[in-house]
Subunit: 151 residues, 2 copies
Amino acid sequence: MKASGHEPIGAARPLAESVGWLLNEAARELTLRVEEALGDHDLRWRDYGVLVVLEAAGPLSQQEIGRRLAVDRSTMVHIIDELERRGLVARGRDRADRRAYAIELTDPGRTLLSEVLHPLTAQAHDRVIGRLGEEDRAHLIRILAQLAAGG
Amino acid sequence: MKASGHEPIGAARPLAESVGWLLNEAARELTLRVEEALGDHDLRWRDYGVLVVLEAAGPLSQQEIGRRLAVDRSTMVHIIDELERRGLVARGRDRADRRAYAIELTDPGRTLLSEVLHPLTAQAHDRVIGRLGEEDRAHLIRILAQLAAGG
DNA sequence: TATTGTTATACTCTATAACTATA
DNA sequence: TATAGTTATAGAGTATAACAATA
């Protein structure tokens, strides 16, 4: 370990200088703000994620939505149950595979998304990353995308 | 809303382009890698956080540690219980306030941190942010610090 | 009165395993 | 035999509220 050619990695650093820590702090705060905003409409971060995925990709099976959001299919059942109960999504049938649903956005779901939820979450985002200059913001997105791509 | 002077914030964007999403993805992956590494020593992200805070700040009360890690004091009890049981921290008494403990790193705790845990977590970090060039890495840290400072 | 640590408790979130209907 | 959805259940993690000792 000592011969790894790196800076002294065992050195005592304040937590506030660790990338991992900072990354988690930033993510937590942003998630918190977004959930605050969504809370007015009794929605969670996850619910919004489902709606956004459907908006971008079109009808998907529950399992496929779960795969994209890293949520187990048994957990997806409850999430879709609730969104369906509120009329934001509908459980259509996949004609090619009758085991699977084709979960789709309803018109009210699509409208809520574009007229209320997107603006709200964008505002929440801005309250956090608005602290950054335009250039830093673009930089941040590019770097994060690079990290995500490597996963 | 329409007259806010912004880009069309209601536009359908793939989730993968949202800062919030990317931030959470990056944080989750990094945390996962770090926990993988710590798991070999039966420690969690939180436990490591406690040790690092103590290493950087010296003896602190349970509540103060919790405040810095955003953990409730009732939850801190269990975390410190376990770390104490394993001899990594000790519950010293705060002479100025006999209600509070002065939680301190033991010598084995300090040694484990510098000889094992710091190197392990640094390696885990590197496996994630090593994908970035030196310049981007510095940039990322600076930007995240800026975000954190604004909180 | 307020605060530290503690305990018991309850709640949220999530995954596991077993089932059904289809494939 | 394998897979989508479902259900019941169990586990982890956490916070809330009340209590004792001390401030």
